[in-house]
Symmetry: C2
Subunit: 152 residues, 2 copies
């Protein structure tokens, strides 16, 4: 019994999600979080919301959003046509880090991936987040790949 | 003038694409490529084909398929709602490696990402592919992330 539960994010959760994305050493440098949510985030939310391959997850406890992650199902030819799940934007509220929220959330994501028939769950984590790599390794992820980015 | 051109893959290209995926030190261990294409690949192809966020690219020269890559557009909240492009399954036929096919293909993918309004193009490359990392770095990718995988 953790008292946590998860669900698909609704538009009214966007402010709380944006707070989580900005409440982060790297995130605060790149997100613009004002009292009014800029339209760029709202537009992105709508694209995520209408796409059955996207699952923007929020984790709640007593109606307070404690965590979020963005899951994407990706059909794929490799690994014998193995469906993949990509994870992005994994965040836990700073006031409750180290209390198992992240671990619980990742377990739910893996369980969802199993139910969807995925063969692989994949993510990249910024090399500056040294603790994050260990966190994912503890949960069974293997750091077999280089994660490469090109900013346009 | 390279003589190459690219297009969205059609079902009739699947055999050639499967040959490319298996014609690879890591791929040959995990793909099952017979005279008849197993249904797992056909099912995955159909899922890719009907999804407007997926672009399975083939590169041709004189009607011969020389390369392939699988591009996925991913809406995203992070980086101010920045659309991402994910690249998977990048392969060049062994008989024409080192002749600029891969470089040309990646340039086309980046150009496509620009036209679609992406902010980030991302991929992971197996750490056992030591040359691949250098190849992507030459093209402007930065190896800023750990690429982590979980096999279900």
């Amino acid at each position: 019994m953790t008292g946590f539960f998860f669900r698909r994010a609704k538009q009214r959760d966007l402010e709380a999600i944006m707070d989580l994305l900005a409440d982060d050493a790297l995130g605060e440098l790149r997100e613009e979080c004002n009292a009014t949510i800029p339209s760029c985030y709202l537009d992105a939310f709508k694209k995520i919301d209408v796409d059955p391959n996207q699952f923007l997850m929020v984790v709640e406890c007593r109606d307070i959003i404690l965590g979020t992650c963005h899951l994407t199902l990706m059909p794929s030819l490799t690994f014998q046509g193995g469906l993949r799940m990509n994870m992005e934007a994994v965040r836990v509220a700073s006031f409750c880090r180290g209390q198992g929220v992240g671990q619980w959330m990742i377990h739910q994501a893996l369980e969802l991936a199993r139910r969807k028939g995925c063969k692989i769950v994949q993510l990249t984590t910024d090399k500056r987040r040294v603790d994050a790599k260990k966190f994912y390794e503890k949960l069974g992820f293997e750091s077999t790949h280089e994660g490469m980015k090109f900013f346009l």
